[in-house]
Amino acid sequence: MKRLYSPGLLLAVFAVSLGSCGGAARSAADLEALAARNRQGHSPADARFMANMIPHHAQAVLFAGWAESHQASPALQIFCARMVVAQRDEIVTMRSWLLERDEPAPPAEYSRMRMPAGADHHTMPGMLTEAQLNELDNARGADFDRLFLKYMITHHEGALSMVDELFGSYGGAQNDFIFKLSSDMYADQTTEIEHMQVMLDTYPSGG
């Protein structure tokens, strides 16, 4: 178990109470040292969350990217375009965070080669099987819309359960950066689930 806080933070706090303040001249090295002491460490649960969420996002980016080529409705195309931007950005954030901490970072792109049809090895909650991806890849127009919404709602619910798991792990999301990123995902994807459910309700035979 890594320490959540370095012992230096306590020292820093006491040093400050002795009277230094923002106006004091501080060298670049002083500032780096202060920041290193003030910032929390991270737990194994944090790193696991980040590493697992990357392929989860990457798969979402893959099939949200089909909206235009698969003749999704204009509303769904807009929704998907925004989601692709959002989750791609978060993948960059998560990979950078892991790499800066010398933690292994999964690739940014989802590789269907690694998930052969019929394989049922470890995937993250809500992720589509290769068969489901193929089914969606073969759908067009309103059929694509309905299937996409159904699968992406499940996919998002999987992401929420991953945040739940993080929050339910010892030392999980104690780190402010991890708490913020995971909370932002939780808020965004909860909101998107609701939006998708409303879109799904547009189709009389949907749901």
Binding site: L4, G22, A35, F167, Q174, D176, F179, D184, T190
Partner: protein
């Protein structure tokens, strides 16, 4: 003070107005000084001959990056704003996120994920550290009312005892999620007197005063984080409403704080402001899809998510909480920014707010915060697409995404007008999206300042809800040129004459407006006559201008700018005002009365009779002042 200040000089590339404008830009401070003294030649226009249009190319594009935890050395660009000071955070907050601001007297209270800092801003050019308080919990949203200081805690590492060790256990009685209350009677030594725990913690909160209740102050608690275990806080559960009538989802919390006994603060109601919410038509939905709206069933009765683990669709969807609520007690309404919706709430019964309208928008990802105009006829909502940690102002990011949306309020309904977004493309390295701001008390106009994280801050006029116009800005390059750092302005608020900004990495920035083609010296002077004892942006105060010559001249400047009065008339009125100002007592009153009599006849002929009446009202009030 910031010695890294760098004024970009885009003039070399200008073709139209060339070096003259360039020189004007550079010497904007000198201009301000010259214009701030009353002009003896009062018959001259008080309007600036600086350009109306922003510098082109936009100097915010391509600013050089800084380095280190404070992002030192980044290039800066500004237009019609002057940075008067930058004060870096004290040692124990270096490298940790600075968050929201509250104000009382000569003090600014700046939240930080590690606690909060109290700055003495009596001298805006040189803020001094009054005290700092280490008490970790994100996001440390702060508010102050009289002697009481309130701080939000939502992060899982917040401890009841303000300790720095975090709370690694998943269920722990050491954890604080909710509102901390400090007695800041001695501002240099706040005392931690109470806390109120809530099931989902407090991402943000809103102080609400009840005109009918002088004994208490109220707090609306917002935050959409996960519901915690009942083993940590008894009574908390996060099931779907239909199965679990006591669920902590689908409600906000209202805390009552007895002013004489803050230790007795408690939750007095948990209004279910989302009850019976059906999905409203989504503005800007593409045509092919809006055709299907008739087939839409109400969102109630479908899908949603109540607990962990996915599973079959639940009975109920829609937002389960708000991100932030801005109350405007003077009009009895609040703007609730709640997940996928913007709500208008009736707060006439403070402890029991009631939803009166809900808006949705296809271009809005996450409704984040609200600001009313002073008349209460309009409201601006922000969309914090991506949560603020992501770069959403790149050239490739759509103008409508991560922007503001402006609505008029008509008979309790919200009518969409247009979007507004900080227009200068930012880099991949700069987190940027719409964030917090406040009105600037320029009389007769709706002008506000807004923070855009590393997109800097800007000032815009949204008097015309269909045509918001950017009129000032300040921006720095990325905090770090090698990686996606976190920085920029969390919030910028007008407080007693200055714009105070909480810079996430760099500390406290204070700006002054400089006179421009968009804002005259008179308008700045009039704005400075509005004095707050305290200010919490989420509790919007009604702006009231005391009588002053600056106020009258502001309206006159606006009439000149809009040609609401012809030039000769404006000049003669200016002369009349200058003469009256040189008099005193009854003579001044007589001169002002005469001025009013002369001008009454011009109301009907004006293209802006309303503004002429506002001017006349200001002059009459001035005449009645001794």
């Amino acid at each position: 003070m910031n010695n890294q200040s760098f004024e970009r000089l885009p003039g070399m590339r200008w073709t139209a107005l060339g070096s003259v404008l360039c020189a004007v830009l550079v010497f904007v401070t000198a201009c301000a000084t010259a214009m701030s003294s009353p002009s003896p030649a009062a018959m001259r226009s008080a309007l600036s001959d600086l350009p109306l249009t922003p510098p082109d190319p936009d100097p915010r594009i391509g600013l050089g990056a800084g380095s280190g935890p404070l992002g030192i050395g980044a290039e800066e660009a500004s237009w019609n704003l002057n940075l008067v000071s930058n004060t870096p955070p004290p040692d124990e907050f270096v490298g940790v996120t600075n968050s929201d601001l509250g104000f009382t007297g000569n003090y600014a209270i700046q939240g930080n994920y590690n606690g909060y800092v109290i700055w003495d801003i009596s001298d805006p050019t040189n803020p001094t550290l009054e005290t700092s308080y280490v008490c970790p919990a994100s996001q440390s949203d702060v508010s102050i009312y009289k002697n009481l200081l309130f701080v939000s805690g939502e992060g899982l590492g917040g401890r009841i005892d303000c300790g720095v060790g975090g709370v690694p256990d998943t269920v722990s009685l050491d954890r604080l999620r909710g509102i901390r209350i400090f007695d800041a009677t001695d501002i240099s030594n706040p005392e931690y007197v109470a806390n109120v725990q809530t099931c989902r913690g407090s991402h943000t909160h809103t102080v609400v005063t009840d005109p009918n209740d002088a004994e208490n102050v109220y707090i609306y608690v917002s935050g959409s984080s996960r519901v915690r275990s009942p083993n940590e806080l008894p009574g908390c559960s996060g099931g779907p409403l239909e199965d679990d009538p006591n669920t902590a989802l689908f409600r906000i919390e209202v805390i009552q704080v007895p002013l004489a006994a803050p230790q007795n603060a408690r939750i007095v109601s948990s209004p279910r402001i989302f009850d019976d919410l059906t999905a409203p038509p989504r503005h800007a939905e593409p045509a092919a899809d809006t055709a299907g709206q008739g087939a839409r069933r109400a969102a109630a009765g479908r899908g949603g998510r109540g607990g962990r683990g996915g599973g079959p669709p639940r009975q109920r969807t829609g937002p389960t909480q708000c991100h932030d609520i801005t109350v405007y007690p003077a009009i009895g309404f609040a703007g609730g920014a709640c997940g996928g919706y913007g709500l208008l709430l009736d707060i006439s019964d403070v402890a029991n707010p009631r939803r009166v309208y809900a808006a949705a928008d296809s271009n809005f990802s996450f409704w984040h915060s609200a600001t009313f105009n002073n008349d209460g006829t309009k409201v601006l909502f922000t969309d914090e697409w991506g949560g603020g940690g992501q770069p959403r102002c790149r050239a490739t990011d759509k103008y409508e995404w991560g922007a503001d949306a402006i609505f008029s309020i008509n008979d309790g309904e919200l009518d969409f007008h247009t979007y507004f977004k900080m227009p200068a493309a930012q880099t991949e390295l700069e987190n940027c999206v719409a964030h917090n701001g406040s009105l600037i008390p320029i009389p007769g106009r709706d002008v506000m300042a807004q923070a855009w994280y590393q997109g800097g801050i800007n000032v815009f006029d949204w008097t015309d809800p269909d045509n918001p116009v950017e009129i000032a800005f300040f921006d720095r390059g990325p905090t770090d040129g090698t990686r996606r750092g976190s920085g920029g302005s969390w919030s910028v608020y007008w407080y007693n004459g200055y714009l105070v900004s909480s810079e996430i990495a760099r500390g406290l920035d204070i700006f002054e407006l400089t006179p421009s083609a968009h804002i005259s010296q008179n308008e700045i002077d009039a704005a400075k006559t509005v004095h707050f004892e305290y200010f919490n942006a989420q509790e919007q105060p009604k702006l009231v201008w005391p009588p002053s010559f600056a106020l009258a001249r502001s309206y006159l400047d606006q009439l000149e700018r809009s040609s609401g009065l012809d030039t000769d008339r404006v000049m003669s009125v200016r002369r009349g005002l200058a003469e009256a100002e040189g008099l005193s007592g009854q003579e001044r009153s007589n001169a002002l009365t005469e001025l009013v009599s002369d001008l009454r006849g011009a109301v009907r002929g004006s293209s802006d009779p309303r503004k002429v009446r506002m001017f006349l009202g200001a002059v009459i009030d001035l005449g009645a002042t001794r």
